[in-house]
Amino acid sequence: MRLTLRIWRQSTKDDGRLVDYRLDDVSEDMSFLEVLDVLNEELILAGDEPVAFDHDCREGICGMCGMMINGVAHGPERATTACQLHMRHFADGATITVEPWRAKPFPVVRDLVVDRSALDRIIEAGGYISAPTGSAPDAHAVAVPKPDADTAFESAACIGCGACVAACPNGSGMLFTAAKITHLGVLPQGQPERDSRVLDMVRAHDDLGFGGCTNTGECTAVCPKGVPLDSIGRLNRDLLRASLRPRR
């Protein structure tokens, strides 16, 4: 395949621009990141600066590899991370625009790499349970109904890649936050901190400069793990209830 990659290059705060790169021999079995690897080898041989991009597992589970591909977070395939996206989904001769996630709380570090630690700040605000550590408890010590376990798991599948924020027209991180609220809030272990968790995480989310959710649903559509929009309804329910109750 012949491709033109139109990639966002940025090394200081405001020198960002799109640069075109031609690749003449791309296999359609390559993943999107492998194409970037090939491009970078060429750039290095030519003495140019390689394109910086984040990646780690390359098997769709770490959440590092997010980027906007042709205006869609993680590219055109549903429920697929950029590292799992294969070139057969693109037409020969295509021009593909690649940009970093764009959101105030995700400053660009370089090229396609953004700093997503704002998501860690949201977790620190309440995305945990307090429990004594030590040896692991028996798996059946606390019974969890199967439907609850399934709901929790759907949300626990979130890999924190930030695609929901990147795709949201409001730059909101509500799907990420709601995934954590749902994951912990439907399990027995999450009950003691359920109220304070939702209040603190939503406040942290807002304070970090994420936008407000208007339920447009772009987030779920691009989520590589398919975290459902229902989780946001659940977050809102918990938030309403926690706000109406005296804080403990």
């Binding site: 764009r102 936008g211 459902p228």
Partner: protein
């Protein structure tokens, strides 16, 4: 946003029911107008309660717009640098046009008040002769067109609005709520559009 939206929706439903009195003839429609002005007149005088309702409506509109402006400003602040290439995947047309759709509806309401409440833009424009004012309006194609556009904009607005409001108030079954919202929006559109179209095509004169 959700709470003021629900209040406005209640008005929209009540108003639609009132409009349908056109089909019962001039007496019913004009009598309804007189009744509206007379509610609670023993306590607050003629139009007293009506003004309370009007003020409540204006307060809700202001709250609704304030919330919308706050959300829009937060959204702009959250993405200072926009994408060079951007393709919406899911966001329904209704969801994407909430802000401009809302502006269109407000502009329509201003025109509509001058037309049918104040009467200055109405081709008949006689106070109290509501039926004649309405029928005079919709014999004109451009008035019918303006109302049709506004009602369709309202339909899109409440289609996304109902579902989004319920989700904000903690209902968490997106599929069911979205379908119900769509059904309700169609119901509202049909109810509102029946009047201008019935007049325009001569079924009501």
């Amino acid at each position: 946003m959700a709470v003021s939206g629900v209040a406005l929706l209640l008005f929209v439903v009540a108003h639609m029911v009132g409009n349908l009195k056109v089909f019962l003839g001039p007496e019913s429609m004009d009598g309804y107008g007189r009744w509206l002005r007379s509610i609670g007149s023993a306590l607050l005088g003629n139009e007293g309660v009506l003004w309370v309702l009007r003020i409540g409506l204006v307060v809700m509109i202001v709250l609704h717009m304030t919330a919308a402006i706050q959300l829009a400003r937060r959204a702009r602040a959250a993405r200072p640098e926009s994408y060079r290439a951007r393709r919406p995947v899911q966001g329904s047309y209704a969801a994407r046009t909430m802000r401009w759709g809302g502006v269109i509806i407000v502009l329509f309401v201003v025109y509509h008040l001058l037309d049918l409440t104040v009467g200055v833009l109405n081709p008949h424009g006689v106070h109290g002769e509501i039926y004649r004012n309405v029928t005079a309006d919709f014999q004109l194609w451009y008035v019918t067109l303006a109302y049709t556009v506004a009602v369709l904009a309202l339909g899109l607005h409440i289609r996304h609005g109902i579902w989004s409001a319920l989700q904000t108030l903690g209902v968490s079954s997106a599929r069911v709520v979205q379908t119900a919202a769509l059904g309700f929006a169609v119901f509202i559109c049909v109810g509102y559009l029946s009047v201008p179209f019935a007049v325009f095509f001569g079924l009501v004169r």
